[in-house]
């Protein structure tokens, strides 16, 4: 591997984007959980929901700040490392980024101030409204950036021109058609549901830990139940949205779809792999597959002829095995999440979920699964787009900044690794501290009667 500016810039972009993407899905998912619990509190005025909401706000805050800090980098990294790309797509790609700032970031940061510091300062309905707006803001931010990225995957509504300095560039011909390009709706919903999964599994994990330790029981059972509901519905919806996304990918980026399934030969009755290995030299895929399933899923028809990688010259293909593996990891985890949440619901119905240690262990550890799935999904999407930055229009090898030298990018790359490493472990440390500290316990004088009644119910439930 040669350490060229292009290679180092790709590595840096991948590292910084992947690091950043640990946090926003937590923010979006936790945002939903916050909205649910605060609404409960607002309606019932039950103190226990206040404590639940305020605990998750703390977790949300620590997560949000690392998300913001690592997000600033991405806003500028197109310019620093991908200047040629920026010149080419600025007209198209820059617009959603600017819109994200104007419509999402300002909204989010403004109401965040109320969400984090306003509990005793503003009326309850104002606070609830602020929480809701932060949640909406985080999703809007997701929308604009996914729209921009989707245009890279399925570019429409543009024309390519050459300016006076001889630089070719893409310019928008229809703004809204560009924003709602063919892959925006399916990819945006798939991304958001992935975020719901990641956020709800964080809540499940921390609640399961408390249940396992037999502390903060009231807090934990309620958080767990709501999060399990969110997680189950999201887990069920995710494959359907993923299916839509895959169909769009096949229509507009057939080489990507073929790489997802390691399909070289164009054929009908194309198989769908459960897992496998692609031998790129021999152009063969080995593994366990369901015959005809890929054809069936793409067109509800086993005889549907699926385009294979052989239709594309080698330099037009993405790295097949890498894309295959990350795609299958994502799918496998997605299926696993359905299973886990279903099991959780079943045991909840049987009233044993809160005391069976093994299922609590599963929920404690499974927070990593949606994180990996979200990361793997984006790796499949972005590496599957290779060798292009804008599919079919601009190659990655032509996109990097011409004025950079290797040592500059190497310096920043090393610093990113060090700084992000430090940030990551500090974040974990702070998160752990908040978890160990736990939610505020109810003041018994607040509502002695209610306390006693709940306790009796809870003990019945746990026995």
């Amino acid at each position: 591997m040669e350490y060229t500016v292009e290679f180092l810039s790709r590595l840096q972009f991948a590292a910084t984007a992947m690091f950043h993407y640990i946090f926003p899905p937590f923010s979006i998912g936790l945002g939903l959980i916050l909205v649910i619990f605060e609404s409960y509190y607002f309606i019932t005025k039950d103190k226990v929901y206040e404590n639940i909401t305020r605990f998750w706000i703390k977790i949300f805050a620590a997560n949000f700040s690392v998300g913001v800090a690592s997000g600033i980098v991405l806003e500028f990294e197109f310019g620093t490392n991908w200047a040629t790309y920026s010149r080419f797509v600025g007209d198209v790609f820059g617009s959603p980024l600017a819109a994200e700032g104007i419509f999402a970031f300002f909204l989010e940061s403004g109401f965040l101030a109320i969400l984090l510091f306003g509990w005793n300062k503003v009326k309850p309905w104002v606070h609830l409204f602020a929480t809701f707006m932060v949640f909406i803001g985080s999703m809007m931010s997701g929308f604009w950036i996914v729209a921009a990225n989707s245009w890279q995957q399925t570019p429409v509504a543009y024309e390519v021109i050459t300016d006076a300095s001889g630089i070719t560039k893409a310019v928008i011909t229809d703004f809204w058609e560009m924003v709602f390009n063919p892959s925006t709706p399916s990819r945006f919903s798939h991304t958001i549901i992935g975020a719901f999964l990641q956020g709800s599994f964080l809540v499940l994990s921390i609640s399961a830990y408390y249940l396992y330790k037999k502390i903060h029981l009231e807090f934990a059972t309620r958080s767990f139940t709501i999060a399990l509901g969110v997680a189950f519905v999201s887990a069920l919806a995710q494959p359907l949205l993923g299916h839509e996304s895959a169909k769009v990918a096949y229509e507009y980026q057939p080489a990507k779809m073929a790489a997802f399934e390691g399909l070289y030969e164009t054929k009908d009755n194309a198989p769908l792999y459960l897992f496998g290995w692609v031998d790129e030299e021999a152009e063969q895929t080995k593994g366990i597959a369901i015959p005809g399933m890929l054809s069936y899923l793409l067109n509800w028809d086993n005889d549907f002829v699926v385009k294979g990688l052989n239709e594309f010259p080698e330099e037009e293909r993405p790295p097949v095995n890498a894309v295959f593996q990350s795609y299958h990891l994502m799918v496998a985890i997605g299926m696993g999440l359905i299973l886990i949440t279903f099991l959780g619901l079943l045991l909840l119905y049987k009233k044993t979920v809160f005391r069976k240690k093994w299922i609590l262990w599963i929920f404690m550890l499974s927070v990593f699964l949606p994180v990996f799935a979200n990361q793997a999904g984006w790796i499949s999407a972005e590496r599957g787009r290779q060798p292009y930055t804008v599919y079919g229009l601009l190659k990655t090898s032509e996109s990097y900044s011409k004025s950079l030298v290797e040592s500059e990018v190497l310096t920043s790359l090393i610093l990113f690794f060090l700084i992000y490493g430090l940030l990551f472990f500090t974040w974990l440390f702070v998160l752990n501290k908040e978890i160990q500290h736990g939610p505020e316990t109810l003041n018994p004088e607040d509502n002695l009667y209610r306390q006693r009644k709940l306790r009796i119910n809870l003990l019945k439930f746990l026995k």
Partner: protein
């Protein structure tokens, strides 16, 4: 007036907003170590607690606006400025997370570490912003391909170091004035002292920067000359309105001078809000002077005027500028409303409570 000019103004507006808002934020960071006790340091940090994130959004949005409206400037500036810009990002990252992390742990070492990150991050960021502005005035070695051809060290010169230090001092003064609004008692007295002391350093540096700027870019004076000097551009807005522009420019000079004098007057009279507004106006005026001197260029090439990136040869298409202008028009009232509501909600002296950092 075409959409290119409008976008020049919008980017300028976002930068003014950023300088005024994050300016005091970074200034507070620079003063952080003068908080004597842990409680004082927490007050300093929490004085910007609810607003720092929103303030930083102005920078992010300015970046997005530059990308959308002037992609070539976005590309050339950030790839040309690569390492300094990366250091700026690192400084901003450390500053941002240290606010969140600092008070999460009682240990002295822990708090000290994040205090350093917060303070140094703020100072470095202010310094690099100043150096960047200085370089915009000096110009860059931009070739016919719009790419920056210079090296990292070309960006550091006596002038740019001066503008860097000037910016740190200006933000520190601005931050100290902000602190007088957010503190009480002894801390407020000291903040007032910090503000008045930096005020005089600021005045001296201001004079130096002005003289130095006129020395290296005398053509920037054309806008003040009532048509007696040949303007450095033949842009119709400049050529056809030379008298008007000079009147405006001199009015800004006058208002700016009044604002600067009023900072000290208001500080002595304990009218801190007035001092803050004056300081904000002064910062807006500085950016206006620079923008006026630069217009219609955004990045001047020192190799040939033909290679300079101006608002026409570096811009997006008319269609995009127009569409984005409509979006900006819709969005801006909201932005201003959020900002106002937040500052209004968190007005007054900063108190430490259970939700504080």
């Amino acid at each position: 007036m075409d959409y290119n000019v409008v976008w020049f103004l919008i980017v300028g507006f976002l930068l003014v907003g950023y300088a005024i808002l994050d300016g005091f934020d970074l200034g507070v960071g620079a003063w952080h170590f003068l908080g004597k006790t842990d409680h004082e340091r927490r007050i300093l940090m929490n004085s910007i607690g609810p607003v720092w994130d929103g303030n930083e959004v102005w920078l992010v949005t300015a970046g997005g606006a530059l990308f959308a409206a002037f992609p070539d400037v976005y590309a050339t500036a950030f790839s040309g400025f690569y390492l300094p810009f990366m250091f700026l990002l690192f400084a901003l990252i450390f500053r941002a997370v240290s606010i969140e992390f600092r008070s999460k742990e009682e240990s002295k070492t822990w708090r000290n570490f994040w205090d350093w990150c917060f303070s140094l991050g703020s100072i470095v960021a202010a310094l690099l912003f100043g150096i960047a502005i200085g370089n915009v005035i000096v110009g860059f070695e931009i070739g016919s391909d719009k790419e920056y051809q210079g090296a990292f060290l070309d960006l550091v010169s006596p002038y740019t170091v001066l503008t860097g230090i000037f910016n740190v001092i200006m933000f520190m003064m601005h931050g100290a004035i902000y602190l007088t609004l957010k503190t009480e008692g002894d801390l407020q007295k000291r903040a007032k002292k910090w503000a008045s002391k930096t005020y005089f350093v600021f005045l001296i540096l201001y004079a130096f920067v002005t003289a130095f700027t006129i020395f290296i870019r005398p053509e920037m004076l054309a806008n003040f000359s009532f048509g007696m000097m040949e303007p450095s551009t033949n842009h119709p807005l400049i050529i056809n309105h030379q008298i008007f522009i000079s009147v405006v420019a001199w009015s800004i000079v006058l208002l700016n001078a009044l604002a600067i004098l009023n900072i000290l007057r208001a500080l002595t009279k304990n009218k801190f809000l007035q001092a803050f507004v004056s300081s904000a106006l002064m910062m807006a005026a500085i950016i206006l002077f620079f923008a006026l001197g630069l217009f219609p260029n955004m990045m001047v090439s020192t190799l040939s005027p033909d290679f300079s990136l101006d608002i026409y040869n570096s811009s997006s298409s008319d269609y995009t500028l127009k569409t984005m202008f409509v979006l900006a028009l819709i969005g801006m009232p909201f932005v201003i409303a959020y900002t106002t509501i937040i500052y209004w909600s968190y007005r007054g002296v900063t108190k430490i409570d259970e939700q504080s950092y």
